[in-house]
């Protein structure tokens, strides 16, 4: 047999196209009639916000490459220009599908359930018209800034992602040419306005329609010839010149302001916009034909999240799940004592994130705690963790916090927290030059009777109590000396000290995490070649690292059974003869965002399980600080394996990647339905109940006095 070149581009899928497939899977949820109606709204809204981010980052950077004349081929052998062309077609299809979902299935369904979304102001009744006009005068008019363009006033700067109304106007005297005028739809006001109801169906209209109806009040000396909403997206890929940046913090603040005025890369307009008006926009924004999206429906579907939030309609939503207590960590327990009893695994959001917050809260108060160190990537507003860290610093503990300012789109938020922590006396590190710190690790150093003991929390998700209710993640709490030493070394490195000679247990990217993965995959390959059982199960968000995929192909060719659970991008292809016949890929899209990364290696019958913050992406393995940690306790290993097995069993929310590159839901005929996320919810409830019953049983047992026998 001739040697197969596992790096051959024909064995790989372009990552952008694979991403679009992911967004289509989310859209699939919005189209699924088995899902409660309002949940479907939510999914549709998610596809829209996903797409916005995709444009601002991925499409933008491809455009940059094309502009710079850079034509290096990607993993699948496509040049940036070829990729852009392919993406444009795919996105137009996706957008068409979004709006057909909205218009054909969701709007009628909403109407049927007594919620009427009025498409245009023209459809308002007379009384409603009076109501919205008054609403306009009282609430909207004061915050509007109408802008006209003529020879003395240049074309206005239009803010990224803002919704605007453009109009063609003509002087009242009837003479003169058509002029361009526009107004931004204010983001401070709710975009959904409820109309007065007679107690029957609820009717709502979007803010831009009300403004459009009242355009003439903004340009009093003009006649409004036509008015249409539009929205633009600008290049927002943040590349910071770190070598030149004296102060990273200042640089990012500067970049944030600049971001709004990057090159326009997408223009969305209402379908049927006046041709002349469109032409003005096109020319002024330097848009190309393929980047203009004529939309049949409301622009910016992220508004549907607001619609989801409307009071009532609870029967059209999935009941809210309440994260369950962790049996090992009942409320009010001494967390340090519990960790000393043994390693503890946390499975969010099925189990509550509260113990992680408590861990830091207790450490902040504990007299014996000397130091707390933590990496913060994306923090929720009003984060209790930040409050606890500040408290700890005020209590005289050494608190070191690495705040990653480069967290995409969250910089503004992070800068505020960082400043606050500094004020409280924490030592704040603003990320590393050239690397994004993505690892999630907390270290608590405590002085105990027999010396220093270190408590470590390692996780796959951010220290964000809000997203911990929505993202599936796992976390480990341990006071293992080996991991404690490594954790100390991690923070020393983050503070600018040299790497230790030897790591005990943790693997740290970008140092040699990739090598570690390649080694583990290769070991399975060797085992397979020597006729031993060889099996890999890996769960992650994205898979697009060429070396890792090539290693997986090699392993598959050697006979290793490889089961991948990849939520988003997957550049690997399945079912290629001699290359990937032994590889299956499935993607789970359900209510919670799949986020945990768990890696299983058979290792000749003595299986190993790792968790971490890294996907198998070049950016994770090379340009970020990531940590991979092994889970060693046999009980916890079983739990993790159980999680993987349940996800492999899922036949409701999983889609399988077929050799033709499409994702298909598995055949359910003759099989009982199994939905992993639902199962985990129920399981967490059962476990919590068993634990509380046990406590109840203990506290309610009476001890009857026994007759003393001789």
């Amino acid at each position: 047999m001739g040697a197969i070149d596992f790096c051959n581009p024909k064995y790989y899928t372009n990552r952008e196209l694979s991403w679009i497939l992911f967004d289509r899977r989310v859209l699939g949820e919005a189209r699924d009639k088995n899902i409660p109606l309002f949940e479907r709204l939510k999914f549709l809204s998610i596809t829209a916000s996903n797409l916005d981010e995709f444009f601002m980052v991925r499409v933008a950077s491809l455009k940059d490459m094309v502009n710079a004349g850079y034509d290096k081929k990607d993993i699948a052998g496509m040049t940036p220009a070829e990729q852009l062309a392919a993406i444009d077609t795919a996105i137009h299809e996706l957008v068409d599908m979004q709006y057909s979902t909205w218009n054909r299935s969701l709007t009628p369904q909403l109407a049927k359930n007594g919620l009427l979304v009025i498409g245009g102001h023209e459809a308002l009744t007379e009384e409603e018209g009076v109501f919205v006009d008054r609403y306009f005068e009282e609430n909207v008019y004061p915050v509007l800034t109408p802008m006209a363009v003529d020879s003395s006033r240049p074309f206005p700067l239009i803010r990224n992602k803002s919704l605007n109304i453009a109009a063609l106007v003509r002087k009242k005297d009837g003479k003169g040419e058509l002029e361009f005028a526009m107004v931004q739809v204010p983001s401070v006001l709710s975009r959904i306005i409820q109309l007065p109801t007679d107690g029957k169906a609820r009717r709502v209209i979007l803010l831009e329609e009300i403004i459009e109806r009242n355009m003439n009040k903004l340009f009093l000396n003009y006649d409004i010839v036509c008015a249409h909403p539009f929205r633009i997206m600008r290049n927002a890929d943040l590349t910071i010149e770190e070598d030149e940046a004296e102060d990273l913090l200042k640089e990012i603040e500067k970049q944030l302001k600049k971001r709004q005025w990057g090159e326009a890369i997408r223009l969305e307009v209402e379908e049927g916009m006046d041709k002349k008006l469109l032409k003005i926009l096109r020319t002024e924004l330097h848009m190309e034909e393929q980047n203009i999206y004529e939309i049949n429906g409301p622009l910016d579907l992220t508004v549907l999240m607001k619609l989801y939030g409307l009071e009532g309609y609870e029967h059209l939503k999935t009941p809210k799940y309440i994260s369950q207590p962790v049996p090992e960590l009942p409320q009010g327990c001494d967390i340090f004592e519990r960790i000393r009893e043994g390693d503890i695994l946390l499975h969010h959001p099925y189990q509550t994130f509260e113990p992680v917050v408590d861990f830091i809260r207790q450490a902040a108060r504990d007299k014996e705690v000397l130091a707390i160190k933590q990496t913060l990537y994306r923090v929720s507003g009003n984060s209790p963790i930040i409050a606890a860290l500040a408290q700890a610093a005020e209590n005289g503990k050494q608190v070191t916090v690495l705040v990653e300012l480069k967290a995409r789109f969250d910089e503004e938020n992070n800068i505020v927290w960082a400043r606050m922590l500094e004020k409280a006396g924490c030592h704040v590190i603003y990320g590393l030059v050239g690397l994004k710190t993505h690892s999630k690790i907390t270290l608590v150093v405590r002085r105990e009777e027999d010396g220093i003991r270190r408590y470590v929390h390692l996780g796959t998700g951010n220290y964000n109590d809000a997203t911990a209710k929505l993202y599936t993640d796992v976390g480990l709490m341990t006071c293992s000396e080996d991991i404690g030493e490594d954790a100390t070394a991690v923070f020393n490195m983050l503070s600018g000290y040299s790497e230790p000679l030897v790591w005990n247990r943790l693997s740290v990217a970008p140092l040699w995490l990739k090598d570690k993965f390649l080694y583990l995959i290769d070991r399975e390959k060797k085992n397979a070649q020597e006729g031993r059982e060889a099996h890999i199960i890996a769960k992650m968000n994205s898979l697009c690292d060429r070396n890792v995929i090539a290693a997986l192909y090699e392993a598959s060719a050697a006979g290793v059974r490889i089961e991948l659970i990849v939520r988003g991008i997957c550049c690997l292809k399945t079912g290629i003869k001699g290359v990937s016949e032994n590889i299956t890929v499935r993607s789970i899209v359900d209510n919670f965002l799949e986020h945990s990364r768990i890696f299983y290696f058979e290792n000749g019958g003595n299986y190993e399980i790792y968790c971490g913050s890294a996907d198998w992406m070049p950016r994770n393995l090379e340009r970020r600080v990531e940590i991979l940690f092994p889970v060693n306790s046999p009980g916890l290993k079983e739990e993790l394996l159980h999680i993987l097995e349940c996800q492999l069993k899922d036949n409701v929310k999983a889609s399988e990647l077929k050799p033709d590159g499409t994702y298909v839901k598995p055949d359910k005929r003759g099989r009982s339905l199994f939905q992993s996320q639902e199962f985990f919810c129920q399981e967490a409830i059962r476990k919590a109940k068993a634990a509380s019953d046990e406590i109840a049983a203990v506290s309610r047992t009476f001890i009857p006095a026994q007759h003393a026998e001789e």
Binding site: Q398, E449, D450, S495, G496, S498, L501, V502
Partner: protein
């Protein structure tokens, strides 16, 4: 149980490092944190003789961070030592004071031999591993920037130690100066090193059989330890395996290595020089295995502190090494072992009987023993001018474990044993000794002179000498039947200085056998 926390800080030529240790009884020394930051002080010192203000700022910044970390760990005590970059700075005193003012950390400058001594202690801090290895015939090779130090151990005792000017930075400097081609580098290093190593072999190694080589270096061993992964502290490799590792280094390109090892590219050639040197010595000594404990100066600092604080029972007797080293010197300069031992005996007897009077401790007793052993080595050079020659020899010979000042004390005691005592006069002092050290020299000289008088014939007549203090008299009773007229005569002459120093009159009594 109380736990002591200690911070050891080493200001090296190109790295500033701190290790935090915990001592929790049970003879346990446990490292809990380790911090290192690259600060190149060496280039400044070696090129201009002074450390630039920018480097001092950088140093202070990091030291300030260290103090914060020390505070966080509630460290009980710390010790900070500077090595050659600090030692060789012209304005060391000023720089060190500045650092102390700005950071609160007092850095002490280490002499070469003190530094090597701490290096040994760092190896010894590896406890059981160290003992096992050193029981066999072993050499310790320390590779530094300017020089290398080779020490031979036999049966747990240091036999000899030599400093050769073959440091990696020095060799690298030659390689650059002579523009040696990459392909020819190994040959060049070999030729340069063997010129000195051949002499070393003839003079010191002879056909001594060495089985183990312990390597302490900052260049090659980190790499080997890293390659070995998890097996920390225990990188013992057979010689063949070492050669394989060296082979790999030969083939690698510096840029790739620097990425793989996360070290700056300019350090890669140094690693290579170090590796070649280790290879040469391994071959020269025909060792079976090489141990790279990967210890640093910080380990030695902590071990020394723990020994002093009695937190650790030292397993290795370093004083014995120093005495053995002196014995070896005595032998090299054709001194008589018997005489040295006899003199040592008499001196120790007198010293011990005078404890209440002289108020000196065990360390001073060690100086006296060394001086007794070495007091005549100068006669190898000149029979007339024994005092001066002996002084020069002692000062020129490194004794691992003695600080520069301590060596100065021993050398002066040896000198004044033979030549006229020079009195201390504040300004015009004796070889830079301070008042305290000067007094020690005087007291020890007095004892040694007396002891010397008691063995004037060099025939060790006064074997069972006993000493006891009776009011203002020191009664020395000798149990011998031999004629001791000579001893008696010199005894009186020699006792003059003794009386001056201690205000005690020594009296020699002969107790003849019945």
């Amino acid at each position: 149980m109380s736990v002591k926390t200690f911070a050891a800080i080493a200001v090296g030529s190109y790295e500033l490092s701190m290790k935090i240790f915990e001592f929790s009884g049970k003879n346990r020394m446990h490292q809990i944190d380790m911090l290192g930051r690259r600060i190149d002080l060496g280039s400044d010192t070696y090129a201009y003789g002074k450390i630039s203000a920018e480097k001092v700022d950088e140093l202070c910044r990091t030291l300030k961070e260290f103090t914060e970390i020390m505070k966080a760990y509630k460290v009980d005590e710390y010790k900070a030592y500077g090595t050659s970059a600090i030692r060789e700075t012209e304005n060391a005193a000023i720089v060190l004071d500045q650092i102390a003012q700005r950071t609160g950390i007092r850095i002490e400058s280490l002499s070469n031999s003190e530094q090597h001594f701490l290096d040994y202690k760092s190896v010894a801090s590896k406890g059981e591993d160290y003992r096992k290895i050193i029981e066999d015939k072993t050499a310790i090779l320390e590779i530094g920037g300017g020089s290398i130090q080779i020490s031979l151990f036999d049966n747990d005792t240091l036999v000899s130690t030599q400093n050769l000017l073959l440091g990696v930075l020095r060799i690298q400097e030659y390689l650059n100066r002579f523009r040696v081609k990459r392909s020819n580098r190994e040959n060049f290093i070999t030729e340069m090193a063997m010129a000195q190593l051949d002499n070393y072999k003839k003079l010191y190694l002879k056909d001594r059989e060495i089985r183990n080589l312990i390597v302490i270096d900052d260049y090659f061993s980190p790499w080997v330890i890293k390659k070995a992964g998890g097996e920390q502290n225990r990188v013992v490799v057979a010689r063949e395996i070492f050669y394989k590792a060296l082979e790999q280094l030969r083939g690698e390109n510096p840029a790739r290595l620097s990425v793989a090892l996360d070290i700056p590219e300019e350090k890669v050639p140094l690693m290579f020089v170090s590796g070649v040197l280790i290879g040469l010595l391994a071959e020269l000594m025909d060792v079976k295995q090489i141990w790279m404990p990967g210890v640093t100066l910080c380990d030695g600092i902590a071990y020394e502190y723990a020994e002093k604080q009695k937190l650790l029972r030292g397993e290795h007797d370093f004083e014995r090494d120093i005495v053995a080293c002196a014995m070896n010197m005595n032998k090299r300069y054709m001194g008589s072992r018997k005489r040295a031992e006899a003199l040592e005996n008499i001196s120790v007897t007198i010293f011990n009987s005078l404890k209440k009077i002289h108020g000196l401790g065990s360390r001073e007793l060690l100086y006296l023993r060394l001086a007794s052993i070495l007091q005549e080595c100068g006669k190898f050079i000149s029979m007339m001018n024994i005092g001066e020659s002996s002084y020069q020899i002692v000062m020129a010979t490194e004794m691992i474990g003695l600080s520069h000042q301590e060596r100065e004390i021993v050398a002066n005691v040896v000198r004044f044993n033979h030549s006229k005592f020079i009195y201390y006069s504040g300004r015009n002092d004796v070889c830079g000794l301070d008042r305290e050290a000067y007094l020690t020299v005087a007291k020890l000289t007095a004892i040694l002179r007396l002891a010397n008088g008691l063995d004037r014939s060099h025939k060790q007549k006064l074997k069972g000498l006993k000493a006891s203090l009776k009011e203002s008299q020191l009664i020395l009773s000798a149990d011998t039947t031999e004629d001791i007229t000579l001893e008696k005569g010199f005894f009186e002459e020699r006792s003059e200085f003794f009386q001056e120093v201690f205000s005690i009159e020594p009296v020699l009594k002969q107790k003849k056998e019945i």
